[in-house]
């Protein structure tokens, strides 16, 4: 087991190095740099900076150095000092920007994750143990729809329905009057009335796929002899189903725990943009559009690190959970 973990952990290191480089290169890919984008924005607003000023800005930000030098400056600061650099656009350290939004992101994402599982596991188990029943068909339809409807579209439709027919105030997390108010019960209630749409959108998208997986796995397991043995010993159905096959069928959930980690952090970008949530997703989009390279690069780096670490955790959990994998 220890050798397995050590092996996996060692493999993760070159991956991380490679990814950090890729994230930086991606950010550098577009022709022009932050100063070009900044100047274009100024021109858009009717202002103007001279080429000389642009050059000075470049010098000041160190944008004229060769890429490898810039990369080294960036990555060594992160590794040695935990300093993610400075967002050129926001004029603030990247880490503060991200941390500011991280709490809400984590809250929304973990709530939606719990909701996803709370829907997917019981429904999947039910669908499999009552195959071809009316509810099974209903859930199948739901599963396919959830797979076919892009998250952002679902968000748009729900927003429109809530706005047009329920007369609700949607988008964002707070109504304007609570935006800057101190925390109180009323503000909490306001938050909850806004929170259900992102939760429903994120949970349905995830649950639809997981229900299918759970159902297929359970069907595989339910036909096996050990299930029959358990029944033959006179155990109740609930006991048989929940104690044995469910545990085996949970494998894909464990292997997606790894993916949940970066998802928790990025909190589905597109949905967040549509719903105008103050999470990290829209920040990333804005950073990419503005070529705010330290912010965007750090984002992709952190996300990738989370993915690698998450995959590592999943692998370890799977091996711990399932001796067939550990000994393979």
């Amino acid at each position: 087991m220890l050798a397995f973990i050590g092996n996996r952990a060692l493999l993760a290191i070159p991956t991380l190095i490679f990814i950090s480089f890729i994230s930086f290169v991606i950010i550098q890919l577009p022709p022009g740099d932050y100063v070009t984008a900044y100047a274009a924005q100024l021109r858009h607003a009717g202002e103007y900076i001279s080429p000389l000023q642009e050059e000075m800005m470049r010098d000041q930000f160190g944008l004229n150095d060769p890429m490898i030098v810039q990369y080294w400056r960036w990555i060594s600061d992160i590794v040695l000092r935990g300093d993610f650099g400075y967002s050129l656009e926001w004029n603030a350290p990247v880490s503060t920007l991200i941390w500011d939004r991280l709490m809400l992101t984590l809250a929304i994402s973990s709530a939606s994750l719990v909701l996803t599982w709370a829907i997917a596991i019981p429904v999947g188990v039910y669908s499999a143990s009552r195959q071809y029943s009316f509810l099974d068909h209903l859930f199948t339809v739901f599963g396919f729809l959830g797979k076919g409807i892009p998250d952002f579209l679902l968000a748009l439709i729900l927003m429109w329905l809530a706005f047009a027919y329920l007369n609700m105030d949607v988008g964002g997390l707070f109504s304007p009057e609570y935006q800057n108010a101190p925390w109180s019960l009323a503000k909490l209630g306001n938050l909850l009335s806004h929170l259900w749409i992102p939760l429903v959108v994120l949970a349905t998208g995830g649950a639809a796929g997981l229900i299918r997986v759970m159902r297929a796995n359970m069907l595989d397991e339910l036909g096996k002899p050990y299930v029959e043995t358990a029944y033959a010993q006179g155990l109740s159905e609930a006991r048989v189903v929940w104690t044995y096959p469910v545990r085996v069928a949970l494998n894909p959930f464990i292997s997606t725990v790894g993916w949940a980690l970066p998802a928790l952090f990025s909190g589905d970008v597109i949905t967040a943009v549509v719903l105008n949530l103050p999470t990290t997703g829209p920040l990333l989009l804005q950073a990419l559009k503005m070529q705010d390279m330290y912010l965007a690069g750090s984002f992709i780096l952190i996300l990738s690190v989370f993915t690698v670490v998450g995959t590592l955790i999943s692998d370890i959990l799977l091996a711990w959970f399932d001796p067939r994998i550990r000994n393979a």
Binding site: T15, F18, I19, I22, S23, I26, I27, L29, P30, P31, G32, F144, L145, K147, G148, I149, P150, F152, L153, L156, I157, M159, W160, F163, A164, V170, G171, P262, A263, S266, D268, V269, I270, V273, V274, L284, L285, L288, K289, Q291, A296, F299, I300, L303, S304, T307, V308, T311
Partner: protein, 377 residues
């Protein structure tokens, strides 16, 4: 092939059995596939959709950029058959435009006096069909200089949403298909090399795939798409976007192919081919790949919706295709804020098109996979 299936079900049982013994693999697959009602319906839907996209100039009653200043955000026109209790064939009522006296908002009222019969193979605007020929025949239209038929309403510039939807389908569907072709070439080449040779080649290709998969998809897509300069030619951007989609999509296909290769690498017939002195290229392309054609086709079909969703999401965020290119994602940009949706819900119709297409591809892929499984019932 279809005829034969019909005949065989009508023939006596004995013939059917003999038919089964002499049927080619393709016939067997087709027979199993045609039992899958949902998949067959999806296939028809996709064929019709593809034809509509291909002949978008003809199917759409108007050009995608034709602006009607006096018909902005007009609601969809309903098709009627009876006028004042009398049957007159399919027709639409004209629309009259007014302004709300208080809010100055434009209001449309159907005008029950103006009956506009729908003319099929109607002569409308000129168009150039892929530079092949000029024509002005449209599948349907109405004879009126002022009025229009807008099956799905118009957008805020008075452009016909249905026409734009047809033209957008051309871009979105072809982007999905071209992306899959790129992914297919990459995945097939690397997957088969990896599975066939094994050893350090396999190991390094596996590592590469893991690396690509370890970067979260959406941010990677966004990062790459944001790297495309705005000023570039739309066609170049289009090709690059499909490449970006393929760059991530190929790993999935390569995994399927590699798994299959590992499974059949030690089969007797592969050994026989090797002993007969066939080159490795010949063994892979002539002996091994054909044995998994069906898996590959199913995997490809299931990969198309991913690409379509990717293109739509990127364009929707403003990172993918940009106007004047018309794609479903670009069309959905119009429906981005609550105000326009509540004012004009029909702007969401490209979304419905996306959902239907993605579902159809999923059903088709499922049906193909079941049909191609030699151990299936």
């Amino acid at each position: 092939m279809t005829d034969q299936t019909i005949n065989s079900t009508a023939a006596p049982a004995k013939d059917r059995k003999e038919d089964l013994y002499t049927a080619t693999p393709a016939q067997l697959i087709w027979r199993r596939f045609s039992k899958h009602a949902l998949a067959v319906i999806s296939l028809w839907f996709l064929v019709i959709l593809a034809l509509c996209a291909l002949f978008a100039d003809m199917v759409a009653p108007y050009a995608p950029f034709e602006v009607q200043r006096l018909r902005t955000l007009a609601p969809p026109t309903g098709i009627h058959l009876f006028h004042e209790g009398k049957f007159v064939g399919p027709f639409v009522y004209g629309l009259s435009r007014e302004r709300d006296a208080e809010t100055a908002r434009v209001l449309y009222e159907t005008d029950p006096e103006t009956v506009l019969p729908i003319r099929f193979f109607h002569q409308g605007d000129d168009y150039n069909f892929f530079g092949l020929f000029q024509s002005n025949i449209h599948l349907f239209g109405v004879d009126d200089r002022r009025q229009q038929i807008n099956l799905l309403g118009t957008d805020d510039l008075g452009r016909d949403v249905f026409s734009r939807l047809m033209h957008g389908g051309r871009v979105t569907l072809s982007a999905g298909l071209i992306g899959v072709v790129f992914a297919f070439v990459l995945g097939l080449t690397l997957g088969s090399i990896s599975g066939y040779f094994g050893g350090w080649i396999d190991n390094s290709i596996q590592r590469l795939m893991e690396l690509i998969r370890s970067v979260p998809t959406i941010p990677l897509w966004m990062g790459l798409a944001a790297a495309l300069p705005i000023a570039w030619d739309p066609i170049v951007v289009y090709v690059l976007i499909t490449l970006i989609l393929a760059l991530i999509g190929w790993t999935h296909l390569a995994r399927v192919v590699r798994g299959q290769f590992l499974a059949i690498r030690n089969e007797d017939y592969v050994m026989a081919a090797r002993l007969a002195g066939a080159t490795e290229y010949r063994i892979i392309t002539k002996h091994m790949l054909p044995s998994m054609t069906s898996y590959i086709i199913a995997a490809l079909t299931l990969a198309v919706p991913e690409m379509i969703l990717g293109e739509t999401a990127l364009s929707f965020l403003g990172l993918g295709l940009r106007p004047p290119v018309v794609s479903w994602g670009v069309l959905l940009q119009d429906a981005q804020n609550l105000r326009s949706i509540s004012l004009a819900p029909w702007l969401l119709s490209p979304g419905a098109a996306v959902v239907l297409t993605v579902l159809a591809f999923n059903f088709l892929g499922d049906g193909l996979r079941d049909a191609a499984d030699p151990y299936g019932q």
